[in-house]
């Protein structure tokens, strides 16, 4: 006779053990609407022991500056979920945020820097 027992693996064949919408408390949009998929974040040196594993993984990934899109790609999370999770982590002081791409568009100095960078490639 066999019994259905949990083998400790959260990632079952059917998918995640914890549905994604539970992870983000049902939120569907980040509070900070300027959070762009190219916005970069970096982890701050704070105590992370109380974080859920999924959130902890993001903090660990961001030891160096990383964009929302990269976090989503590496952790295989949909973009919207990634944004909400990153937003929660910023709000709670685990991550620091860089300049959102859309606030820098009209800057001639930035375009000069990009041009010089591309020419050096």
């Amino acid at each position: 006779m066999t019994f259905e027992t949990w083998d400790g693996d959260d990632e079952t064949a059917a998918g995640r053990f914890v549905p994604l919408y539970v992870l983000v408390n049902g939120r569907t949009a980040p509070r900070d609407s300027s959070l762009d998929l190219a916005t970069q974040v970096v982890s701050l040196p704070v105590d992370t022991r109380r974080l859920e594993p999924e959130y902890l993984e993001i903090v660990h990934r961001c030891a160096n500056w990383m964009s929302v899109a990269e976090i989503g790609a590496y952790l295989r999370l949909p973009l919207t979920i990634t944004k909400v999770m990153v937003d929660v982590l910023i709000e709670q002081g685990y991550l620091a945020v860089g300049n959102p791409a859309q606030q820098k568009i009209i800057d001639q100095h930035l375009l000069d820097a990009v041009l010089a960078g591309l020419e050096r490639l």
Binding site: A38, W65, S67, A113, V114, G117
Partner: protein, 184 residues
């Protein structure tokens, strides 16, 4: 904090070489990020007869180029399917500009992208991908077919070639600078 992201959009019809171009200049192998859409946000999708299908996944390929210690350039390829316009909006928002790749065997595949960036007022350059062999058209013929504004640069490129892709990016940034000066 002083850490700046810059975006460039790489657009064009399905199979015009967007990911190839991103891969040729990116410092990392192109990554794929996915957006999962609910039925409501897909809108134009006809899901009649596909009971139970409530989500669609849109994949975005992207790469990165570190410009300086505090500036990183991200290159985002548009989703293959033209109907995901709202994803284009997010990519175009705040972008320096766009490269529209053109496959001369299917000029019309790049028309929606040209039209989109024109309407949005985002600086863009057209890059005719030579990867597909000898081009049967002259620059004038391509410009005519795509109804290009004479001020929009057109470059010939091979999306597999790093130098060639670099040139397309440089042409775009120069064009964006010109547009900025005109506005100022």
């Amino acid at each position: 904090m002083d850490r700046t992201s810059v975006k460039i959009v790489v657009a064009g019809g399905f199979g015009t070489g967007k990911t190839t171009l991103v891969a040729s200049v990116s410092e990392i192998p192109p990554l794929t990020t996915e957006e999962v859409l609910t039925e409501a946000s897909v809108g134009v999708d006809d899901i009649t007869g596909v009971e139970g299908k409530t989500t669609t996944t849109v994949a975005l390929d992207f790469g990165r180029i570190t410009i300086s210690p505090d500036v990183v350039l991200y290159l985002f390829g548009t989703p293959g399917q033209d109907r995901f316009w709202f994803m284009w909006d997010e990519l175009a928002q705040g972008a320096v500009g766009a490269i529209v790749l053109v496959d001369t065997r299917r000029l019309e595949a790049s028309f929606p992208a040209v039209d989109y960036f024109e309407r949005r007022g985002l600086p863009f350059v057209t890059a005719v991908n030579r990867f597909f062999g000898e081009c049967a058209y002259t620059e004038e013929e391509i410009r005519g077919a795509l109804e290009l504004d004479p001020r929009v640069p057109l470059v010939w490129c091979d999306a597999r070639d790093r130098e060639s892709s670099k040139l397309a990016l440089i042409t775009l940034v120069r064009h964006a600078m010109t547009r900025l000066r005109v506005k100022a």
